[in-house]
Every structure is written in C-alpha cells, then in structure tokens.
Symmetry: C2
Subunit: 484 residues, 2 copies
C-alpha cells in the first residue's frame, strides 16, 4: 500500500466528487442529516477498532482518543441538527415592488453548496480534525463532496476511518464520490490546485498552511482557503487574581499547557503575570504534577526543540521550571519560561512566536501600561483569556482582547473547545485566514455561496424559497425575519 | 491640487482611521444608522452641485446620474435599516451545560467590525460604486472606518463627495478618522498593503483587481480582498421563447447591452440563441433604435477596441449589425456579433472573454447538447438569464445557471441591480473573489468577524448579548432562533 496517491488517482477521485456534486446539492436537508448521522453511528460502532490504531500511530492515551471519537460523532450530529433547522440556508425573500422607482423585481436568495471541498487533516486531533472531523462534517452537511488529504502521522487510521465513512455514506444513500481520501505531499499540493476543487479547509502549521494558502490564491481561478495556522493564546492574570488564587491559577495553567503534550492549537503559550506576585513560584510548584508525554511525530519534535532553543537562547529568558524526569527528545520535559514585558516589546518576533509543545512563557508586567504594550505586540490568536478577581472591572481589557482573538475567556483555560451553535474557533491572522470558524455550527457557512433567483417561476424554486415554506425554516421576508 | 496622495499623507489617514476604530465599534447601532442617514441626506441635498461635476467628468447623462444619486442614498438608508434590525450581528447564545460530557461553558457570539477598510472606487458608477457607494456604506454600517481610493476618472467629484461625507459624519457625531480619501496608483497599492488596513472592497477590471488581490494575499498578514472583476452575464433564449417573441427579446437585449454605453458589470455579453430562429435579424433591426454614447475614459476605450478586434478577428465571428452613425473611437458604435456553439467550445478564451462596452455576441446553438456545451465553457458570472416561453420546463437550465452565477434571472435583463435585503451581486471567479456580495443587505458581512465570549461577566457583554436583549434583536439561544 503506497503512501502516495498518484496524479491519475487524484484526478479520478476529484472527478468522482465533481460528478457527485449536483446530486448532493439536490439532496434534501433531511437526507444530508441522515448521511451525517449514519457516519456518526458507524464511527461510534467502529471506535473499538479505530482507537487502538490511533494509539499505535499517535502515542496518545486511550481515554483521550475515546473522548475524541465522541467529540467527532457529536460534531457530525450537531451539523445534522443545523441542517434540519434550516437557518444555515439564510433564505431571504423580497417580493416584487412594481411601483418602486426604479421598479424592483422579485428576488429570492438562498445559500447553495460551493462544490467539491479539499480537507487537510491535522495531526493533533486524529479524529476531530481529521478524516471525519469538523471540516468534513460541515462540508457534507451543506452538500459539498469532500476529498480529504490524510495526515501522514496517522495514515492507517485515516484509511480505516475513510472506509467507515464511505460505507456509512453509501449505506445512507449518499452518491458515489461524496467522499474520497488522498495521501502524500504531492497529492496535497495538486489537490488545492485542481480546477474542480472549489474551497479548502486546513488545520496545521503556519509554514505548511501558508504554502497551500499561496497556491490556492495563486490559481488562475483562486479559491477560499480556510486555514487555522498558529496561535499563542495569550492569558492575562490581573494582580488581584494573582493575589487571590495563585496556587489555583498555577495548577490550571499547568494542566492546560501540558494537555496533550502541549500540542493543542489553543495551548496558552504566553501568560502575562503581574511582576512580584509570586505566580512563578506557584507555577514551578504546580509543574511537579505534570508528566512528560510523547510528541506526535518527528516534525513536531524538531519544531518544538528549535522553538524552545530560540526562546531559552534569548538573553532575557529564564527557565523557571522543567519537569524533566524521564524526558527525552521524543518525550520532552514540560517547561515554564519567564521574561519581561520590556523584552517582549523589544523583540516580539522571537519571544511571541508559537512553540508547539509543552512550554509556556510567563511575561512579567509592572503595570497596565506594560501589560497593554505586550498585548499591542501580539499577532492574532484563536483565544485570549483574562483571569480577574470577582467584580474586578475588565471592560477595557475585554475590548483589547476582542481585537486579538476570536474567543475571549473570562476565567478558565483555552484548551477545551466546545462544539456548539455559537462557538467561534478563528481569529485574526495567523490564527486563521478568514472571517469564518472551523468549529461550531457556523463553520458550514464556509462551504456555501449565495444564489438569488429573480422573477423565477415557482417550478424552479428550491423548497427553501417556496411561498408556503414547506421546510418550516427561518426566513427574512420583505425585511422581516420570520421563524419557521 | 495634486492627484497623488503622498505616502506620509496616506499613513496619516490610515492612522486616523485606526484611531477611530474603537469608538466606531463601541457606537450603538442607532448611532451608526444616524451617521448613514446623515450622509444620505447630505448627498441628496448636494445632488444639484455634484451631478454637473459628474456630467463633466464622466460624460454620463443627467437623468442617469440623478437616478444614481438616489440609488446611492437609498443604499445608505437600507444599511441604516439593517443596523437597526440587528440581525446582521448574528448573535448566538449557548448557556452553560455543566452536566454535559465534557461540561460546556457559556458561550455568546456576536459579529464585530473587522477594522479599517480600503474601498477602491469604480469608474462606471461615480456615485453608487464610488466614494459613498455600497462598499463604504456597508463598512460604516458595521462600524469600520473607511479609506477610499478615488477613481481617476472622476477625481473632482470624488473630492467633493468626500467633503460631503466627512461633513455629514462629523455633524452626526462620528469620530474623526471615520472616513478618508486617497488618490493615485501608488497610494492604491500602498493602501492594500498597509498593516492597519484589515479588509478591502474593489470594483473594477480583472487585471487591476488581480494585481491588488495578489498584493492583499501576499501580505505578511493577508486580508480579505472582496473584488468584483469581470462577467459576461450569459443569456439563454430557448427556441420556444424565440418563436413567441423575437422582436421583444431583440429590443430588450439591445436596450440592456447598450445601457450606459455597455459599461455595466452586468452587461449581457454572451447570448445563446437557437440557430435559425430569426433572432439575429430581429436584433439587427432593434439595434437601429440604439445611439452611440461616449465611453468613460481612455483606458476603457483602449480595452474595448482591443477586445472588439479580438472578437471580430476570429474566423468564426460575423458582424450582424453596427449602429455606426456618429461613431468615433470615443463614442463607439453599438455592435452585435454572432458565432457558433462549436466555435465557442473550441476557443472559449477568445470568444467568451469580457469586452467592456457596447457589444454582445450571439452564439447559435442547434440543440440542447450544444447549448449545454457552451454553458460548460463559461467561467463564473454575476448573472445568468434564461428567456423561456410561459410554462416551459426550465428546471435543468436553472440548475446549470445557478452553478455559473450568483443571480439567475427568469425573463428580464441583468443590467438593473435592485438594492434589497436579498440581493446577491457576486458569483464564481472571475465575477468576484469571495462568497460574499457587494450589493444588498448581506454585503455588511464582509466587514465583520465573529467574537465569542466564554463565561463572561454581564458587565463586559455588549447589549446584543445581554440576557434581557435590550436591543430587541433576533438571536439564536440554545439552538433556537428567537425574533426580537
């Protein structure tokens, strides 16, 4: 079994996806909801077979992977609910106004599937951001065929998951070609440049993502490339919070930045701590509870050690604590570093760079001016967190953090990403490349485009736009939103 | 008065826009609605002064320009209504579910302004797609400062319009820096690359737009570049329609493709006609009612004559009719060309290229297979139109045309674009560069990005997300859409 999809095989898969697109677009929402539920059921049933493969390929613990299967199938079922609700179609109807100046025709707008979608799987969530993950679920939900580029870090799992997905889709009546899988670097590059591919979703490194982003935009006919690339997820701890609960904050931080060996895109990598508040000692102590855990693959290992070296090599950086027992290159020691606000402002490129793995950098600030200077040096992130004392006024801070990230947390830690209607997993570059999310119900919007029908006969209108609203969906009619 | 904004002046304008952004984001929807209405009122009042300047600079007739002022102010008022409605905020609230596995935090999502927006004005709508046009209105509506790059084809009008806009915004209490104007090619290139600019809107040529699109995507931190670039707006006439109303179709087509000297982005440039149905003679006759009209500027003249030469130089192309009386290079003859489906399929790059000006190409098809082959050779368009006989089954055709364009017309002609809640003015590349529209209420979505607040104290929540819904806006709460 070769790990590289040949160009003719890729062409054939994309051609099959293209051929499936019209039937998928015509399928009712109820049909597509059932496809998603069939995939979810099949994955739940296959968990006992898939999880051991995932353990072998990713070195992740069983409990984490079992939980991730549940997250993945929950995600598929959320999109089934989204499709049944129908609000995702954004139906808008304006009746004709023949007496207006100039006269207005009848216009009826609905979102339609954008066409075949390429999905680039991530290494760090072998289920939830991989073959049957959120990108795949949201694309299938709105009626787009999907061709997944497997991550080389879990190829066997990808193949087996793809078998499960294909069989479930076929069993639920989805058209042939609705789903395909390709492997290999060349196939990944070819896929995003294939004329029949109309959009792409990607979760991975800034470097790899930028290469594909540039290819997508450099096409003769560019396509949207929705990528989640990199994020340091700043955390701000106020002096009052530090004074009130240093030990609790320290153990929360350690739990978050070492979760999954620090290989979460929402890992809190930069923590602004009030100088002299004793948080460093508390974090050093809390780190004693952490255990080194294996990194996912050689590429991540290399990146982590190079990033850590760049940080520790900086004159301003101190190593506060390393939990080194049993650490190796493959299973590195969770590490807490510290520097000053002044150093960060002077050299943000070095000190605020993402280091993907179990490390966090405490940045000591003396006052609000220093704190805000550090925040002003940050690029976009997926999340930003503030820990304040109860009742403390954090309005100005909330406004600043809203400008930096797509999710602002008040208390808590960013490494959990709930899959809900409102979730937004995105943020200003380099967190993501677009104004859309890759997690939560609104992720579906990425793979739809609007079409408006002008003065159409009733016979051509899709059910979403018919006068009697047979789907019972929310619609805006002559400017007024009407629920079902 | 120099026609080029210097780099320091541009920096200063963008800095002022950046400085205005937080106050604009904090302004209530009602405040922003009043800014827009103040601009609309001021433009209505200034029409008598502005229209003569526009006539002198663009050679357009007074009635057209007066109507365009009304369109522009109507657009500003539509966005005021959009802002007051509040649905554009896409507020979604998910209450906490502490008993879920894993427990879910409280999440509240809202759209916030993306930041300072660059707007590139078009030549062919000196009001409605220029300084105070739809891009500017939709950006201001959601709270984004705007820096407009003036079109050199109507510089004096741009400056005077900008004066009116600035004064109206200041009078209505908008912050300084909310609006700025720059001039010159270099300023245009610098603007889209300025780090403080967070998105851009553009209407213009494929060539110029592609240059700026590439600059926007090539930035260290890329930004969305929403551009409307080029469109041939195919029209399909069925044999039954041709048989029933050839003369009426011919005069409708002539009226549409010669409107504004053919300089509309929705100009019907390619018309699929049944072979031997007599439509060519009817169109030739109808062309007798057309009058040559001046083109907007030298660049468009050059492009038009080169495009026309490429078409007429093609061995398959016949000139069906030219309405040549009084024609010059600057005031060219409206021209009807014809070719065959086979020729188009063999050389779509030449025959289906947009030729911006008063020309249309009739493509004779013998049967549905030929018709569909031509449709399959087309790139994306803003519009696609079908003329069928009453009761004729056009479902398959509607599906094909929906894949080609963002607006599908059943009867009528594409050159009117109603500004309504449902309008979609966009389509697959090269019609536009995104899945969003530049006309209609949903154009505002381009300049917003989502932020979700996790477990936020009530004191930091914007009104849109507060429990008692003080704005009375539509929101989705725990998965259920609630109107006001």
């Amino acid at each position: 079994m070769s790990a590289t999809t040949t160009a003719p095989d890729l062409d054939q898969l994309v051609a099959a996806a293209s051929a499936a697109a019209p039937a998928m677009a015509r399928a009712t929402g109820e049909q597509r909801a059932r496809w998603l539920e069939a995939v979810a059921d099949a994955l739940d049933a296959a968990g006992g077979e898939l999880v051991p493969i995932a353990i072998a390929e990713t070195h992740m613990p069983e409990a984490r992977l079992t939980g991730e299967v549940a997250r993945t199938t929950g995600q598929l079922r959320l999109f089934a609910a989204v499709v049944r609700d129908g609000g995702y179609l954004e139906a808008i109807i304006d009746h004709a106004r023949p007496d207006a100046t100039p006269p207005q025709p009848e216009l009826r707008r609905v979102l339609v599937p954008i066409g075949p979608v390429a999905v680039y799987a991530a290494s760090n969530f072998p289920f939830a951001f991989s073959v049957a993950g959120g990108d795949t679920a949201s694309a299938l939900a709105v009626g787009c065929p999907v061709v997944v580029k497997a991550h080389p870090g879990h190829l066997e799992l990808s193949r087996r998951t793809a078998d499960v997905v294909r069989a479930a889709l076929a069993g639920a009546g989805a058209p042939d070609g609705a789903f395909g899988l390709v492997e290999g670097l060349e196939a990944g590059r070819d896929l995003v440049q294939h004329p029949a591919i109309k959009a792409a979703g990607f979760t991975g490194s800034l470097h790899g993502g930028r290469v594909l982003f540039d290819l997508a935009n450099g096409r003769p006919a560019p396509i949207p490339f929705y990528a989640e690339l990199g994020s340091v997820n700043p955390v701000v701890i106020t002096p009052a919070a530090a004074a009130a609960s240093a030990a609790q904050l320290a153990s929360g931080l350690v739990g978050s930045f070492t979760l999954g060996a620090g290989q979460f895109c929402t890992n809190p990598g930069v923590v602004l701590v009030p100088a002299g508040a004793g948080l460093e000692d508390a974090v050093a102590e809390a780190l004693g509870a952490a255990k080194p855990a294996p990194l996912l693959n050689g590429r991540i290992e290399e990146g982590f050690h190079a990033g850590l070296e760049a940080l520790t090599g900086h004159a301003s950086v101190e190593v506060i604590a390393r939990q080194g027992e049993g650490a190796t290159d493959e299973v590195p020691a969770p590490t807490v570093l510290a520097t000053t606000a002044a150093a960060v402002v002077a050299d943000p490129d070095t000190l605020l760079a993402e280091c993907f793995g179990p490390v966090t950098l405490l940045v000591r600030y003396a006052d609000e001016a220093e704190r805000d200077a550090v925040l002003g040096s940050l690029e976009g992130s997926l999340t930003a967190t503030v820990h304040a004392a109860p009742g403390e006024d954090v309005r100005a801070l909330a406004e600043t953090l809203s400008g930096l990230a797509g999710r602002v947390l008040f208390g808590g830690w960013p490494t959990g990403v709930a899959v809900t209607w409102s979730q937004h997993h995105g943020g200003p570059w380099p967190a993501t490349t677009s104004i859309h999310t890759s997690v939560g119900a609104t992720a579906a919007r990425r793979f739809q485009r609007p079409v408006v029908f002008q003065d159409a006969p009733a016979s051509v209108l899709p059910p979403a736009l018919q006068d009697d609203n047979p789907l019972g969906i929310p619609r805006r009619v002559d400017g007024t939103l009407v629920v079902g």
